[in-house]
Structures are given as structure tokens and as C-alpha cells.
Amino acid sequence: MNKVFEKPKSLGDKHFSYCPGCTHGIIHRLIAETIDELDIRERTVGVSPVGCAVFAYEFFNFDMIGAAHGRAPAIATGIRRAHPECVVFTYQGDGDLAAIGTAEIVHAATRGEKITVIFVNNAIYGMTGGQMAPTTLLNQKTDTTPYGRTAAANGYPIRVCELLSTLEGTYFAQRVSVHNPANVIKARQAIRKAFSNQMEGKDFNIVEILSTCPSCWGLPPLKALDWLSENMIPYYPLGVYKDKDIRKEEAASA
């Protein structure tokens, strides 16, 4: 009998404790499959955030370190500079990366830090019960925008891929989604590129993954997937925002 599907080596035995319908589960699996495929489990160090994924180190089966809120890119920098032979990635939510961690992510990108950033964007603060995130959409109701987010009070949501792609240090930035199987496959490919780029010495790679938070959005899991594709994708278009490989190819064929 052929084994056609199994738990990746890079996932441990602990059952995920995420909410029903939470896309952290899918994303954890995609990362673990990538690390197995690239055979880098024994030299990977992951940096977990403050947010729902704070205990990510309990689910993965490789070295991990818990970071202070927003500081993961700086911590990843410290690890990578001390151990250039390691493959280092951060796993961050929207508050971690785009609120408190804005300085750290911008500077890791502009330094061209050779790390991979997995950015889980679900337009809300999940762990703390559903407050506004920098990526919360206009008119979206949250615990701290009970009447709906307005530009007048809270400004506009941040588009992280677009922002970071203006920096020379950013090698690769792609926004993907995991709301249906076709997009999960594209997400997997983007994650693989972001890791293999690092292995090839290509600086700073980020994959922004549009994700659901059924609990805090107040929607059942399947409706949450619909809400993502109907509301988030128009504001956060999917696609490749930066790829220095393409730039090089274009220059070569010019």
C-alpha cells in the first residue's frame, strides 16, 4: 500500500489548539511541508509571534524561539547574523508585523536581511478578542471600532506587500490567500519560493497570506472564507509585488 499523505516531519505530535475554521492550521502545514521538501528541518529556526500563534513552537518540530510583540524580525536578525548557516523565518500576525512591529519589519527588509517572513493577515486582533488591526478594512466592525472603522478616526488599512516592495532590500514579496484549494496551492508555491530564495542567499522574502478569523469576525468558518474573498481580496489584491529574479531576467533579455 502506498503512503500518499502523511503528517510532515516538521510538525510535532501536539494537536493544534486553533479555533474551528482558523487558517493558521493550513498555514502551519504548508510551512512544515515546505521545510520537509527542502530538507532543512535540522537547520531551521523559527520565530513565533505574540498573537494566536504564540505557541507555534509547540506545534512545529524544529528549533523555535518566542518573540516579544513585533520584534520577531529583529530577533531573526540576531539569530541569522550569529548563525548564517541556519534558515530563519518569522511567523507574524497583522498586529505583530504592521502595528507595533512596523519599524522592525521595515528595517529588516531594507537591510535585505536574509530571512523569510510569513505574514498572516486576518484584518483583526484575534488573540485579544477582536480589536482593530492596522489591516482592518474600512467600515469593518471590531471591538474597538464598534460602529465600523472610519478613515477620519483611524486612517486607512496598510497594504504591507506594497509598502515593503518599495524597499531595495526586499527581494520577493507575494500576497496569497488560503480560502480555497486553488489558492492554497498557490500559497504553498509562494512559501516554497520564499524559503528556497533564502537558501540561495537572496535577501528578505515575505509572503502575506490573507486569512480568516471566524471567531472574531463572528462568522461560521465557510462564511468566513466567503467574506475573505468578497471583502479582503478587492482591497488586498493577490499577486507578486516584488521579485528581483524577474527583474534580473528582464534585464538579461533587454
Binding site: G12, R41, E42, R43, T44, V45, V47, V54, F55, Y57, E58, F60, N61, F62, D63, M64, I65, G66, A67, A68, R71, A74, I75, A76, T77, G78, I79, R80, R81, A82, H83, E85, C86, A103, E104, V106, H107
Partner: protein, 355 residues
């Protein structure tokens, strides 16, 4: 057999760290310690090390956290306002039980303050500064030679107890140029099987400071407290200077203030005043043992470049046995020999000053 080199205090921190096997510095410019990152920006590449100027003191302490977790000797430095920024990272280092050296070249505050020296971060260094029940090992040098010796000791104690350590210097020591002997020092290498640097050949490690079940968190805290009790028992350090059974006036001072106090004490002795000094070298753990026997001392004077911070620990340790007085200057002003001599002379006339 080493040779003597004339060195600036701030730069001596860097060279001492390199001699202790530290090859990773993450920092940020701030007066009066910017000579240190500048020195290491040149020296680290020479010894195959890493120098990185981060985007802020916050970023730098977190880079230290990452590198420390990966098992290497690592340091950062800053001055008072920047050290305030690092407090979160320091609490995380303590909670995650990671070794690292943090240098504070103190300047006057509060707020942006000024660039002249002070000792007004004593509370911040020894009583927390960051949140939670933790302590930093805090060592305070009073000469450029001692900077070198204590930097090395900081790394050794930090690795031994798996806890961050602070070198508490000030703007004057930072600028001072004195001869230093680096000697034939060879740093100890310490195994770090707990480090996160790729799990080849072993089970995966993780470094964290969160334990969400309260009974588990309490266990962790009890473990930290046990560690601090061990450090308190074993690592108190101080200098006794001209202290004997004839001493009547005890002066307590650390760092730069101890040097100035020593000059004042010499002058006082020439005037027939029997004064002596205890100089705490470890500010945490505070050298309680130095004050066990008060011999024939009649009165105590603490001198600091602050509104009076270490004096509270002196009062605690004297515990009502003797009157404890304080003299200090703030705002970057440095007490002079004359001013301290005046204080000592007044205490000679009336050992107990009721304020």
C-alpha cells in the same frame, strides 16, 4: 604577560568584550557611549565578528535576544534613555534565561536629560526597570582597568547563571583615558545544549518566557528566585578602602563617585578625620556582607550623582544601627572633592544630622 595600552573607557568595553570571546554587537548611537559602537564597527570585522547598528535600542536588544538564544556571547550598549527602551527586552532575556551583556553608560535624566554623567539609573538597574520578578546582575566599575575586568566577569557570570548582566558605567568613565593591561586572559567556553541553532542530531529546542498555566508559571518563577538567591549568596563584590577599627565616618560610593570620594577621604585624613570607604562593585547583588560588622563606625555618608538611590539600599543594610546621610548632585553635575570633604567635616562635628 600583557602590555599596557592607553584606552578610553567606552572603547575598553569593546576590546574587553572581544577578549572575552564576544563576536556579536548590536547597538545604536547615543551620547555618551557612541565611541563604543564606533570602535566595534572597526574591530568586529577584524576579528571575524558581527557589528550591526539596529534601527533603535528596542531593535538592538531584540537582536541580542535572538543571538543569545542561538548560543553565542553577545552584547549591546546604550545610555539611560536608550536603556529605558530596552527594558522589555531585558525582562524577556531574564524570563527566557538567556545570557547577554547590556552596558549602560549613564547620563542625567529624566527624559532626554543631558549628556553629562550621572548615577541616576541605579533604581532602574537594580530594582527592575522591566516588568516582573527578576534581577539583573549589575557590576559597576570605577576605572578603565576595572571596566575590562568586569566586562569579562559579566560574560562569565551571565553564562554561568543563564541570566543577563549589566555593566553600569557613566559618561565620565566612558570618556576617561587610562592605562589598561589586558593580560593573558583566555575566556572559558561554555556548552549551550539548550540553544536554538538547528536541531541536527538532537531533539528540537525552544526558547520562551511564556508559561500560560499559572502553576507552571509559578514553578518557573520559583526556579528564577532560587537562581537569584544563589547569586546573592555567592557573587557579592565590594572594595574596602582605608577601613579599619579606627574608622569613624564610613563613606559609601560606587563608580566615578568612589574615586572622587577617595580623594576627599585622603584630605579628610590629613585633617585628622578618620574616614574610610566601602565601594560596592556588585550593585545587584548588593554587598550586604560588607556591612555585617560596623566596627567602630559612628556615622555613614553615601555620595551619588543622583537624588539618592543607592542610599536606600545602604539604609536597608545598616538597618537602623547607625545614622545614614546622603550627598549628591543631579543633572550631570559631578560632586567635587571639596564638597564631599565639607560633608565629611560636618559629620565629624555632628555625626547625626537631623534634617
Amino acid at each position: 604577560m600583557g602590555k599596557k595600552v592607553l584606552m578610553k573607557g567606552n572603547e575598553a568595553i569593546g576590546e574587553a568584550a572581544i577578549s572575552a570571546g564576544c563576536r556579536h554587537f548590536f547597538g545604536y548611537p547615543i551620547t555618551p557611549q557612541s565611541e563604543l559602537p564606533a570602535y566595534l564597527a572597526k574591530r568586529m570585522p577584524e576579528v571575524g565578528g558581527v557589528f550591526l547598528q539596529g534601527e533603535s535600542e528596542v531593535a538592538a536588544i531584540n537582536m541580542v535576544y535572538g543571538a543569545a538564544a542561538s548560543g553565542v556571547r553577545v552584547m549591546t550598549s546604550s545610555s539611560s534613555p536608550g536603556v529605558s527602551l530596552k527594558q522589555e527586552g531585558i525582562s524577556y532575556l531574564a524570563g527566557a534565561e538567556l545570557p547577554a551583556l547590556i552596558c549602560n553608560v549613564m547620563r542625567a535624566g529624566p527624559g532626554l536629560g543631558t549628556i553629562q554623567p550621572s548615577q541616576s539609573d541605579y533604581f532602574q538597574a537594580t530594582k527592575g526597570g522591566g516588568h516582573g520578578d527578576y534581577h539583573l546582575i549589575v557590576l559597576a566599575p570605577s576605572s578603565v582597568q576595572e571596566i575590562v575586568d568586569l566586562v569579562r566577569l559579566c560574560f562569565d557570570l551571565s553564562d554561568k547563571y543563564l541570566t543577563p548582566a549589566m555593566l553600569l558605567s557613566d559618561g565620565m568613565l566612558g570618556q576617561l583615558m587610562e592605562p589598561v593591561d589586558f593580560g593573558d586572559y583566555k575566556p572559558e567556553t561554555v556548552e549551550k545544549p539548550w540553544a536554538v541553532n538547528g536541531c541536527k542530531g538532537r531533539k528540537n529546542n525552544f526558547i520562551t518566557s511564556i508559561y500560560i498555566q499559572p502553576d507552571r508559571m509559578e514553578q518557573h518563577n520559583l526556579k528564577l528566585q532560587k537562581k537569584y538567591a544563589e547569586i546573592t549568596e555567592r557573587e557579592q563584590r565590594w572594595e574596602e578602602w582605608d577601613l579599619n577599627d579606627e574608622t569613624e565616618i564610613l563613606v559609601v560610593a560606587h563608580g566615578t563617585m568612589a574615586r572622587i570620594a577617595k580623594s576627599a577621604i585622603r584630605e579628610a585624613q590629613q585633617n585628622g578625620i578618620k574616614a574610610g570607604l566601602i565601594r560596592p562593585i556588585s550593585l545587584w547583588p548588593f554587598p550586604v556582607k560588607a556591612f555585617e560588622s560596623l566596627r567602630n563606625i559612628k556615622t555613614v555618608l553615601t555620595v551619588e550623582m543622583s537624588a539618592g538611590q543607592m542610599v536606600e539600599d545602604v539604609k536597608l543594610v545598616i538597618n537602623g544601627r547607625l545614622p545614614v546621610h546622603f550627598f549628591g548632585r543631579m543633572g550631570g553635575m559631578v560632586p567635587t572633592v571639596e564638597q564631599i570633604l565639607e560633608q565629611i567635616s560636618e559629620l565629624r562635628k555632628s555625626p547625626v544630622k537631623i534634617k
